[in-house]
Amino acid sequence: MTMSPSVITPVSFNRRLKNRVVQGLVWLAFILAVIPLISVIWLVVKNGLARFDTEFLTHSMRNIGARDAGGGAYHAILGTLEQVGLATLISVPVGLLTAIYLVEYGQGRRLARSISFFVDVMTGIPSVVAGLFILAFWVLVLGLGYSGFAGALALSILMMPTVVRSTEEMLRLVPNELREASYALGVPKWKTILRIVLPTAFTGIITGIMLAIARVAGETAPLLLTVFITDSINTDPFTGPQMGLPLYIFDQMGRPNDTAIDRAWAGALTLILFVMLLNLAARIIAWWRSPAKGR
């Protein structure tokens, strides 16, 4: 190896230039990525604020004539909360337990490998297909009709693989040394998972779940096939058609009057706020549970 005698030299012009150019490119890429985000938010806020009022949040579309102003999305907000809530109740326990099995018990067993394969397959299912499946199976074959719960089933098909994958990732991040430290204290494996592994991964798991919820909260196609559409309040998610915010936006956008278009924008604003609140909640939980806070 030939080396010049060791002299400490200033950073060459060439390197400075390259550094500048690459820095510029990185900024450019960042700006390009942010432009669509900012413009979407700006557009939704600008158009949505016109009808984002108390009436909108507290009234349904019942008895609102085709050209009438007024009316609201109360029935849709209620529907979305119930559908997404039920979907979460179904998919989180199943997803969590699946991930725990894959990481803590599977260890290369054939069952674990095939579950992992099917989770991958599920991740790729288009949301329309999930809706069609529930339509065919739940609504038509079992004859249980349209309902919020049928929609929740379709949404949970979409949520489950996301929950499994994100939880799995978080559990794998927990250092094995912590498990061993717990075993070495004479703590059984199940208790180690419950009291050491899960709390350590807690913030990551919650963030993953919140993101999964946010993902499905805006799904339209599967709800169209399973929840259908209504203008009235239906508090019971188990019987009869319901509304949901994505359905509401879709429905109002399809109507010819400006009053309806305004309602659609307000619905979009509500949906975005809902997703943002979820993210905020995830952050607050993460901060509250963070060990660095030094309770």
Partner: protein
């Protein structure tokens, strides 16, 4: 209460790979036994067979017999979980539970193994931290996370956590290798104190440390690449370091190999 360990003809495997072979030895109670030997000769593996931590690794298994006083550790009726309550362990890298405070770390073994009252926990946490020579440094911040301590303090916290469940034996796998000299001395002082109450086994790469802290020393070696590790000889520490019977031991401690 310290207990004696008697190992006879022990083999340990990782899958089909035999890591150690034919180990027979007696570990005396209320004393410090040091394991020395080149890397990869199976010291950690052997140490982990002593509290049935070896079998935690998928595909790992053990053949042979280990008696803890009159208990056969590998009897098929024995619950490995209860073995680990009796034979505690301290690891190479300090590993306090990151979600827990200093107090909760020390109390973890007690709490996870059953309900104990708050006052009972307080008493045990205080004595364990005092025994681990850490009490004075942390008594004002017991509710702060354990991960905020220095490496040496964390390791003493882990020792406190291990002795809080009052085991009979304490296994230490290179407990000082990630620590600075001052912290190392603190741990060595602690080991000298703990041996009054516990049977202590320590793996170390540091000859001086073995000479300083241990009463008996076991030298492990492997015949060649891919061969299982074996116990070459075991004797009083002073004898091993001044007048070993085996040539390999002498070569190793005088630094001719390893």
């Amino acid at each position: 209460m310290a207990k004696q360990i008697e190992v006879s003809d022990l083999d340990a495997y990782y899958g089909s790979h035999k890591a150690i072979e034919g180990i027979t030895m007696t570990v005396e109670p209320r004393s410090v036994t040091a394991f020395i030997g080149p890397s990869g000769c199976g010291k950690s593996t052997f140490l982990r067979t002593l509290n049935r931590m070896h079998e935690v690794i998928p595909g790992a298994r053990v053949q042979g017999k280990i008696m803890l006083e009159d208990q056969d550790l590998y009897d098929k009726d024995v619950d490995p979980v209860s073995v680990r309550r009796t034979v505690g362990m301290v690891f190479q890298r300090p590993n306090p539970f990151p979600t827990m405070s200093i107090f909760d770390n020390v109390a973890a073994g007690l709490r996870l193994n059953g309900r104990i009252s708050k006052s009972e926990a307080q008493g045990i946490v205080e004595t364990s931290l005092k025994d681990a020579n850490l009490w004075n440094e942390v008594k004002d911040r017991l509710n702060k996370p354990g991960s905020g301590l220095s490496g040496g303090q964390q390791q003493r916290l882990c020792i406190a956590r291990a002795i809080a469940v009052s085991p009979a034996v304490l296994l230490m796998d290179e407990p000082c290798s990630a620590l600075d000299p001052i912290s190392t001395l603190a741990i060595e002082d602690l080991i000298a104190k703990l041996k009054n109450d516990y049977t202590i086994v320590i793996v170390t790469h540091n000859m001086q440390q073995a000479a300083r802290v241990s009463d008996r020393t076991a030298f492990f070696n492997l015949a060649g690449q891919g061969q299982p590790g074996k116990l070459v000889e075991m004797d009083e520490t002073s004898k091993i370091f001044t007048n070993p019977t085996q040539k390999a031991t002498e070569d190793y401690i005088t630094g001719r190999f390893g």
